[in-house]
């Protein structure tokens, strides 16, 4: 049955090329806009190299301290707070610390007077467990390196190639802001898509300027310069861990000297953490859902109405056919199914076109599209480019979403015309020209 419908739809497409083109472009446009949004969010929350454990991660980025005099301070977290609250929880496999400390880092390549601006991140040894980077050569810096603040560095493959060509880089030294670091490992580059972990050089966090063990901002005890990425072990229920962690934070918040601390609902699931911009307030998820829902609705509804109009005109032209079909005993529901499934062929063709178009749009807007919802947008590091790997764009999830969007759009744009066409009086339909 479906095969016959599609056959007919295919013939319709061939007979009415211009109309079909308009219809498919219209569908494609809508699908592409929705898919750009979907793929951006997919890349933000799915398991993507090197953040392949996002579905097992809880994130705590910030907290707020309230003093007895009523003043508040909010910032990222201190090492002490993170260790006290999360380290001893049952089912925690590792906790990655990423320091907020950034600044300008210039690399002095050997024998080249031009300095190279680079991105540097200060992280701990667990970082390499939580985010399984692929080591092409060497190993992460060790706990001993970290404890004794020995100048070691993990560098990205692209940087290694730029500095040392094809030579073995492990064991060599690089000069960063005129200080010398020994390269201990080379990893496959992370994309700027995973901005939290992206870097060219990763150093032990104990090397950061002014680092003091167990220090905190202005004696707040809880506030410091770290974000924590807590990896749950495979057999631990993430929701349970979140509850336990929240409880631990709450207990901790009451133990501080003449002040209280709250992490404002953190640790977050990974997907929640992408909406946290401010350290002193919770994201309003309800409002966010409403906002994105409205945008998606507009992106679907505007084309759906116009496509409905076109489907309706096409049905008007085929009213006689509908009449004949009913005269030969087609029930109304069968006819509706026919119209909607026929239309699905159009929509799917539009969907394919739309998906390809969305890849193009993503490519063209790559320097900013990943941050389209950000309040403050980070400028790309000098000389860096956002690279989308094929696996981020071409995968079952993205295809699944596309198909679902097509299905929804098809229903929106064909349901009413189908209903109207199949509920006309038979004689009226038969006599229609």
């Amino acid at each position: 049955m479906l095969k016959v419908y599609f056959k007919q739809a295919w013939n319709l497409i061939r007979q009415e090329r211009l109309f079909s083109l308009i219809y498919i472009v219209g569908t494609g446009l809508s699908v592409s806009m929705v898919m750009v949004l979907s793929i951006v969010f997919y890349m933000k929350v799915a398991n993507i190299y090197p953040e392949t454990n996002r579905d097992r991660i809880l994130v705590a980025k910030s907290g707020m301290v309230s003093f007895e005099n009523g003043r508040n301070s909010s910032s990222s977290l201190s090492e002490g707070m993170i260790n006290t609250c999360f380290a001893s929880l049952d089912g925690v496999e590792a906790i990655a610390l990423i320091s907020r400390k950034d600044g300008e880092f210039l690399l002095q390549p050997e024998g080249d007077p031009v300095q190279l601006p680079v991105t540097v991140k200060y992280v701990n040894t667990d970082f390499w467990k939580v985010f399984p980077f692929r080591f092409i050569d060497g190993k992460p810096f060790t706990d001993a390196d970290q404890q004794s603040a020995i100048r070691t560095a993990v560098i990205a493959e692209s940087l290694s190639r730029r500095l040392f060509g094809k030579d073995e880089a492990v064991g060599k030294y690089i000069s960063l802001n005129f200080r010398s670091y020994r390269v201990c490992g080379i990893v496959k580059d992370a994309s700027l898509v995973t901005r939290e972990t992206y870097s060219l050089i990763w150093l032990p966090y104990t090397l950061a300027d002014g680092y003091q063990p167990n220090s905190s901002f202005y004696n707040t005890e809880a506030l410091g310069e770290f974000s924590a990425y807590i990896l749950a072990s495979k057999d631990k229920n993430l929701a349970d861990l979140k509850k336990e962690a929240e409880a631990a934070v709450e207990r901790y918040g009451k133990t501080l000297h003449d002040k209280t601390f709250t992490a404002l609902g953190q640790p977050d699931y990974y997907w929640q953490s992408i909406f946290r911009f401010w350290s002193n307030s919770r994201p309003e998820y309800g409002k966010l859902v409403l906002q994105y829902g409205l945008v998606l609705l507009i992106l679907l509804l505007v084309p759906a109405v116009s496509l409905s109009g076109m489907t309706d005109s096409r049905m008007e032209r085929r009213l006689a056919e509908m009449g004949v079909r009913r005269a030969f005993g087609a029930p109304v529901t069968t006819l509706m199914v026919q119209v909607i499934s026929e239309n699905f062929l159009f929509t799917v063709l539009g969907g394919v076109f739309g998906l390809l178009l969305s890849y193009l749009l993503l490519y063209l807007s790559r320097s900013w599209i990943m941050q389209l919802d950000a309040t403050f947008v980070d400028v790309l590091p000098e000389g860096a480019d956002v690279v989308f790997s094929p696996s981020m764009l071409v995968n079952y999830q993205v295809f699944g979403i596309t198909l679902f969007v097509c299905f929804l759009l098809n229903l929106l744009s064909a349901l009413i015309p189908a209903w109207r066409a199949s509920h006309r009086q038979i004689i009226y339909s038969l006599n229609a020209k």
Binding site: F19, I22, L29, F178, V302, M310, S313, R317, S365
Partner: protein
């Protein structure tokens, strides 16, 4: 003719309902975006008495102690200051530099930093206002580098004002009207409402108003003295220069970097980079999300326009095929081909006219719901601008939306209408 078209539209309401609803939907959504761009373009058109073309931020830094060329003897405060002044003289002496200014990096023109001041007039303490403080070293000509002018357009120089008093302040014209609406501002005192005795300044002059960002409105501005000393040279000092207009920007940048890399190796100083203030401004727009705001809205604008064009084109294409006999008949009855084309285009515009009426009602609801954004609107501002006149703005933005949609509709109907007009009447009549 119009009546005839309306009658026909009404009689075919079943076929017209979709295109009508689509027009209504797109009219409202498009208006929302048009309104945004209207305010944005209006703000951009407002004059700013400052010119950032051909201005450059010259960034110098100190070598770290680890560097092989680091000289420990040059790091005490006297040496630091001396070296800094020497370095400034060298920049000033460069042939392509027209003027040089030293300022605090809180006040980078076009940058993201903002140093807020809150003042009231000592003479009439009810007059108060918040504004941006711009801090620069009065020994250098900040006003000349950024080509400040008076409200009337006369160029100003730092030397036009008396900076001997450490409490000197130069204010923008809007500040003058806010604090001293009925008289001369010179010699008047501005004081902080919180600590009037400790924090007060004497107005020594008035310059024209500037906008902090091009997409905003003019703001209250206070220009205060800030001197480069050993304490702040490394952390806060910023050097700005204006290049001669006769030298192309690209060439200046290249030559300056090349020559000054050597020249500016004074003590432990070295030239780190040169960046144009226009670029800094662009980067700030990007970081503040303004660039994304415009891009996203432009994308939506195009999306809506393309959608409405496809809808109109598709629907009219079918309509013309369905109504071949009607078109043939009209031609047989004496309508010209141009007449047919005109009829179809008018039909489209009539539909737009019908849809825009309920559209405007919805828009009014949006306005009442407070969903309309006015970029750059400040609290208790003195001057009202065009976007503050709600009714006028409503009419103008709706007219713009209408014209935009009308162009899209005419363009979309053109092709099918042309095809209809080219039909042979006999064929059209015999078509079944």
């Amino acid at each position: 003719m119009l009546k005839h078209i309306f009658k026909q539209l009404w009689n075919r309401k079943r076929a017209n309902i979709w295109i009508g609803v689509e027009l209504l939907l797109v009219f409202c959504l498009l208006w929302y975006i048009v309104d945004y761009f209207f305010v944005l373009e209006y703000n951009k058109s407002l004059h700013s008495c400052r010119d950032m073309d051909h201005t450059w931020q010259v960034e110098v830094a100190l070598l770290p102690p680890e560097h092989s060329e680091y000289q420990p003897g040059e790091s005490d405060s006297t040496a630091l200051e001396d070296n800094c002044y020497r370095l400034l003289d060298r920049i000033r002496g460069y042939k392509g530099v027209e003027a040089l200014a030293v300022l605090s990096n809180w006040s980078t023109p076009g940058g993201g930093g903002y140093y807020g001041d809150w003042f009231r007039s000592r003479k009439d303490t009810t007059r108060s206002g918040h504004g941006q403080a711009i801090l620069f070293d009065p020994r250098t000509d900040f006003f000349k580098v950024f080509r400040y002018t008076t409200k009337e357009g006369k160029p100003v120089s730092v030397d036009d004002f008396d900076w001997a008093d450490p409490k000197s302040v130069i204010i923008g014209n809007m500040a003058k009207e806010t604090f001293f609406p009925d008289g001369d501002a010179i010699g008047q005192i501005l004081e902080s409402p919180e600590k009037p005795d400790e924090w007060n300044f004497v107005v020594k002059g008035v310059v024209g108003d500037i906008k902090r960002f091009d997409y905003e409105r003019p703001q209250l501005t206070f220009y205060r003295a800030w001197r480069a000393t050993a304490d702040n040279i490394t952390e806060e000092m910023e050097i700005a220069v204006r290049s001669r207009e006769s030298i192309p920007d690209k060439q200046f940048l290249q030559d300056f970097k090349q020559t000054m890399s050597r020249e500016l190796r004074v003590g432990n100083f070295y030239l780190k980079g040169v960046k144009s203030y226009n670029q800094i401004n662009k980067d700030t727009d990007f970081e503040f999300g303004q660039t994304n705001n415009v891009r996203i809205r432009t994308a939506f604008l195009l999306f809506f326009l393309i959608n409405i064009m496809l809808c109109v084109m598709g629907t009219f294409w079918y309509r013309i095929r369905m109504r071949r006999d009607e078109i043939g008949l009209r031609m047989a009855m004496g309508s010209t081909r141009t007449g047919i084309r005109k009829l179809l285009i008018l039909e489209g515009l009539c539909l737009l006219a019908i849809a825009s009426l309920p559209g405007m009602l919805i828009e009014i609801q949006l306005i009442y719901a407070g969903l309309i954004e006015t970029i750059g609107k400040q609290n208790n501002q003195l001057v009202t601008y065009l976007p503050d006149h709600v009714v006028l703005r409503f009419i103008l933005t709706n007219c713009l939306t209408w014209v935009l949609l009308a162009i899209a509709i005419v363009a979309a109907i053109w092709l099918p209408a042309d095809k209809a007009a080219k039909m042979e009447p006999a064929d059209a009549l015999h078509y079944e």
